[in-house]
Amino acid sequence: MNFRFTQTAIDTENARRELQDLGAGGYASFEGWVRDHNEGQEVTGLEYEAFQELAVKEGGRIVAEALRRFPVKHALCIHRVGSLGLGEMAVWVGVSSAHRGEAFDACRFIIDEVKHRLPIWKKEHYRNGDSGWVNCERCAAEPQHSHAEHLHRAAATPREPV
């Protein structure tokens, strides 16, 4: 499996070992960590939730695409789900290849696609006690489409004729 989820801390040592290849001259990795702030808010922790059945398929397709596009040896991505504290690792990407350039490029490609394409959501918990689903709450508050406005009104003022 070139893409998988874990409920517990990502074991980078073992993951890195899966990429070893005598033809590889190097390995590049990316680690995504839980940061203590986002868009002006102080963050105290995160919850990750995933539609795993689809995300594992689509994640596997992303890594397979990277292997086709870049002349690299092996690539692997592991994503955490559940509650994470500050500083914990949320995602890990590793790529081994003959030369360093392709390893960096493939690593960057994989993390960028993972962020855009996989059905994974994160809820931030803030110092002030609030929480919110990243990319969902703000856009919901400022709908782009008249359709969205209808749904808003529906939620706000359900009235039925007598």
Partner: protein, 260 residues
Amino acid sequence: MQRDKAALEYQGKTQLDRAFELASRHVDEVFVSVRPDQFLDPARAQRPMIVDSVLGSGPIVGIRSALAAHPRTAWLVLACDLPFLSDAAIKVLLRHRDTSRFATAYRSAHDGLPEPLCAIWEPSAARALEEYQAAGGHCPRKFLIRHGAHLLDLADSRALDNVNTPEEYAQALATLDNLSPMQLKIQYYALMREQAGRSEETLETSAATPADLYAELAARYGFTLAREQLKVAVNSEFSDWSRKLAANDAVVFIPPVAGG
């Protein structure tokens, strides 16, 4: 069509019965609008009726008679020849009702004009309708165009298709066979899980596509995200919004993602 459209049968029930039952699920009391000469018609006689009480002909007379019979009540007016009309479409109409207008109605998916016979008519329309008819008007659609009803777009473009010829009747029968309620499994994630108050459910629905299903569920749960902000997956693969749903499909709406 040389037959009474209200008496046409779909799925073992007359369209009058289907429309009556549909309306009964959404409002407190339902009446059948009849002309004086239909008063003894056995198909209609078993139901509470409102007999035309004003002069003239056509549906405008039925609407005015209802408003005259119960002058302080708003009326959900439904034609008896709309075999595809769904609970979801009625719910959306009720939720978006604008009591400050004479009526809340759907825009026809065919010509963009108001559909007066699947609409909520407000008590305030009674006098304007009377004046309109006194001035020679007879078409409730033109009345709504002139007076600017609150208009809504249909989630399912076929919902108000009506049946006027034997060919259309045969087609409607075939389509309804495909549309009969089926069970779907819905899973909810993240914001939508919280708004739906559940992570999954099995649902009996006649939604034909993921787009129809989202309209139905958004009306039920008040989802804050517009369909345009979502993707949808059917049976664990990304899907088109217009894909035809089949029994036991598993549907997941995918709000904006934030992995990594």
